[in-house]
């Protein structure tokens, strides 16, 4: 008997990106299901039991954060990764607070995505090997990836650091321009750089 493949739900209205992720995730052993909008995503989640959902922050019918919130409420075992081409630090932090596994920039960082998907797959396999009676599966968010409130506390600063580093690279190190893109004052950006050890 072959093991059923974990399902990755990709929610993005850009067909080109969806096809690329489909091609990539299949090489990692995922079955890929796609949805072009928030509403379709919820329907697919119900019919396909996704282990992981990769959600674009910007979609025609819904905000990705809202889709994240709805997926987490409907199926806490489904890990959600958000992706976006831009976005403020606040959005990145909000995503993690709402229970997202991580927040990826666009163009997609495939190495990072590979790590996340492999991690999620290993996690599913560990759960399956515990051989718990169905209906008695532990909520993945109870496992030590998160603290008691379901927040990846160790990741919050990582998310911030990655995000700021990415934006600074885009502005060729210009901090004033970076602060503008990040939606914070220049002074606040300097404080964050100090705190994250980036100065």
């Amino acid at each position: 008997v072959t093991e059923p493949q974990p399902v990755l739900l990709v929610v993005d209205d850009d067909l080109g990106i969806v096809r690329l992720i489909d091609r990539f995730a299949r090489t990692l052993g995922f079955e890929v299901v796609t949805a072009a909008c928030g509403q379709e995503a919820m329907a697919k989640l119900e019919s396909d039991k996704a282990a992981v959902a990769l959600v674009d922050l910007r979609m025609p019918d819904a905000d990705g954060l809202e889709v994240l919130r709805r997926i987490r409420a409907a199926d806490p075992n489904c890990q959600v990764i958000l992706m976006t081409g831009d976005g403020s630090i606040d959005t990145a932090i909000e995503a993690i607070k709402l229970g997202a596994m991580d927040y990826l920039g666009k163009p997609l960082e495939f190495e990072r995505l590979k790590q996340l998907l492999s991690g999620a797959r290993d996690h599913m396999e560990t759960l399956a090997s515990l051989d718990l009676p169905s209906g008695n599966q532990p909520d993945i968010s109870d496992l030590p990836l998160r603290d008691a409130r379901g927040v990846h506390t160790h990741l919050l600063s990582d998310v911030e650091r990655d995000h700021i580093t990415r934006v600074l690279r885009g502005t060729a190190g210009n901090k004033k321009a970076a602060a503008q893109l990040l939606g914070v004052s220049r002074r606040a950006l300097y404080r964050k750089l100090d705190r994250l050890g980036l100065r």
């Binding site: 080109g16 990106i17 091609r23 997609l108 321009a177």
Partner: protein, 65 residues
């Protein structure tokens, strides 16, 4: 969202596809495949275009205005 931000967003998505498929091919092609160098050129051009878009999109600092 302003027209220029929509343009940047869409342009990054398109370039992401060019770079993404190049990376997939480079991962999968055997080390001695004669096409590797060509695919690598496509990826490098994609990376360079992405950098241009980022530079174009960055706000112009006051001191340079």
């Amino acid at each position: 969202m302003s027209d220029s931000r929509v343009f940047v967003h869409d342009m990054k998505n398109v370039l992401g596809i060019v770079i993404g498929y190049s990376n997939l091919l480079l991962d999968e092609l055997p080390a001695d495949d004669p096409h590797r160098a060509d695919v690598d050129e496509i990826r490098k051009a994609g990376d360079a275009a992405l950098e241009l878009v980022d530079r174009w999109a960055a706000p112009v600092p006051e001191e340079l205005k």
